[in-house]
Amino acid sequence: MIRVKLGEFLRLPSILAGMGYSVVVPTEGNGVTKFECYSPDSAIDLDYVRAINAPRDFLLPDGERLYRYRSTATVTSYGLKIRFPTVEGPCPVTINAEYTAPGGRLAFFAIHPCHANSIRYLDRVMLSDPADPYYKARREGMLTVVLECEEGDDYCFCVPAGSWRAEEGYCDILVRRSGEWFLVQPISEAGREAASKLNAQEEDAGSLEGKPPKMKSSFSIRASEGEIDRAPAEGLDSCTLCAACTVTCPTCYCSDIEDRFNLVDPSNVERVRRRMSCQRKCYSMIAGGTIFLKTKEERYRWRLKHKFPFSEKAFGMSGCVGCGNCIAFCPAGIDMRKTVGRDQG
């Protein structure tokens, strides 16, 4: 473990950039903290408790191009009508996919343990058979610098959610703040290499053990399918379906596939992956326009069921890391802790 002062610690992003990483740092601007790609004039914010976006935005970017293809469809001169190729004849398209893997290694600087755990969850989802090649390519060689939280804000509940510790493999360098010092504990080989480039003001023989942050509330989470169905869902009458809960959630990974056409060359099509939200109407829409999740309440309970019982069953870990973003950024102030939390004692 080494001890460095703030100025030296802030050199770490440029050290990582020098090692060939695309570095993502928390920046402050307009009253919110968000993760952005590092540039030498980034306003790095190390005092943040919550960020409006998450590493997910870089591992599964919105509008990511999956591949290009050439369609053999041409513009004809017959009258325009909506038609589906399978009804009126074979699909008039041959697909010659052009795929280029995303390059570069990612480094996340000063993420919190809850973010590290969100990456762990995304790994379980995206790398389980069959592995998502785009995610895998971005994930390979990733480095994380985890900055411990001292105290959560009103919405944090990583201790009840059991995700306050950055698990092995999801933390290359663990950092704790102690007064004006930053205690830097490299954990992996890549982490040691990066930390060795810092000019250590003091060496320390001890090593850092994870420490749970102070929480403002303590409760236990009870979220089986039946419990979520029976629990009260308060405040939903002021939900405007803005989907802020799913946009700011670090573990929401649902996506939609979209074909982007081009007017100058109509046969050249780009297939992209867009973010999707279970709070949106088209999330549960099937052919013919039937929707399964019609009401706000259905969508709300669906979101919680996906986070807790469904994720436990499918991936062996909860999809909620207790960051509290869905509560903090909800314009209507809907608090899911009232649905899944039980007061202790």
């Binding site: 307009n30 009253g31 919110v32 968000k34 409006i52 976006n53 919105d62 369609s71 469809a73 513009v75 004809t76 001169s77 017959y78 009258g79 325009l80 009508k81 909506i82 038609r83 589906f84 190729p85 009458d237 002021s238 939900c239 405007t240 379906l241 803005c242 989907a243 802020a244 946009v247 700011t248 074909d259 982007r260 056409f261 081009n262 007017l263 100058v264 109509p266 973010r275 939200s277 949106r280 109407k281 088209c282 950024f329 314009p331 209507a332 102030g333």
Partner: protein, 248 residues
């Protein structure tokens, strides 16, 4: 394939936007389509006569007796009618501005003025493309989906969705009467991203809920009246319909 671009009572901002913002796509548009009528670009082929086309784009609200005649002629001669812009899809500012005014005295020779209405109040509209002005990208996307035989789609999310995606601070939190939760998205949250509240220029979102919105702004201590006056000013028929439902 034939296409035509018509203008009813409006500022012609939508068609002007297409001309200025389509860039290289404008040329492609002329290559792909036979465009018999696009008055802003060139003299119409058959004069003022409404040509028979496969796809008609109509901007503007239906205000005068000439508009009323025109829109039914357009409908009769076009296989697919696209309402271009918020005037055509919701009525926009003209809708609320023409209510409660003595329109009989505004008559100009043979032109009679009526209360402004969106196209859908008079004819069957196949697709509505919102925006004040309409976005060139959305226009191209809808056009290309039509060319490829896919139904064009309207955004099913509100402005908030894209605003949060861009990582903006919520304007309701700082006490601004932003209409984001009510407004149809697709603009990339252009106004809230620079700190200006959304005034819902694209009309209401598909699942807009006025009662929930009013509850939400009350929670932030924003006076209801401020939000409602913005609702009344810009968003025309559809959102005023919500207002009626919301108020019982």
């Amino acid at each position: 394939m034939k296409a035509a671009f018509y203008s009813l009572t409006s500022c012609e901002g939508c068609l002007t936007t297409l001309i200025t913002n389509l860039g290289p796509n404008l040329e492609a548009l002329w290559r792909i389509f036979d465009i018999d009528y696009f008055k802003l670009v060139r003299e119409p082929v058959g004069g003022e006569k409404v040509p028979r086309v496969d796809i008609a784009f109509v901007e503007g609200a239906v205000v005068t007796n000439l508009d009323r005649k025109r829109i039914s002629q357009i409908r009769a001669n076009s296989s697919f009618v696209v309402a271009l812009g918020t005037c055509a899809s919701c009525g926009n500012i003209a809708y609320s501005a023409s209510r409660g005014v003595d329109l009989k005295r505004r008559r100009l020779r043979e032109i009679e003025v009526f209360e402004a209405e969106p196209l859908s109040s008079h004819v069957n509209v196949d697709f509505e493309l919102s925006g004040c002005p309409v976005s060139a990208e959305e226009f191209t996307e809808a056009l290309l989906r039509l060319l490829n035989g896919i139904e064009p789609k309207q955004p099913d999310f509100s402005v908030c969705y894209e605003c949060k995606m861009r990582g903006n601070r919520c304007l309701l939190e700082v006490g601004k009467a932003c209409l984001g939760p009510l407004a149809m998205g697709g603009c990339g949250a252009a106004c809230p991203s620079v700190g200006a509240p959304c005034y819902s220029c694209r009309g209401p979102a598909v699942e807009a809920d006025l009662t929930a919105y009013l509850k939400t702004i009350r929670r932030h201590g924003i006076p209801e009246e401020r939000a409602l006056s913005a609702v009344r000013a810009f968003t025309g028929k559809k959102i005023l319909g919500l207002l009626k439902d919301g108020k019982g």
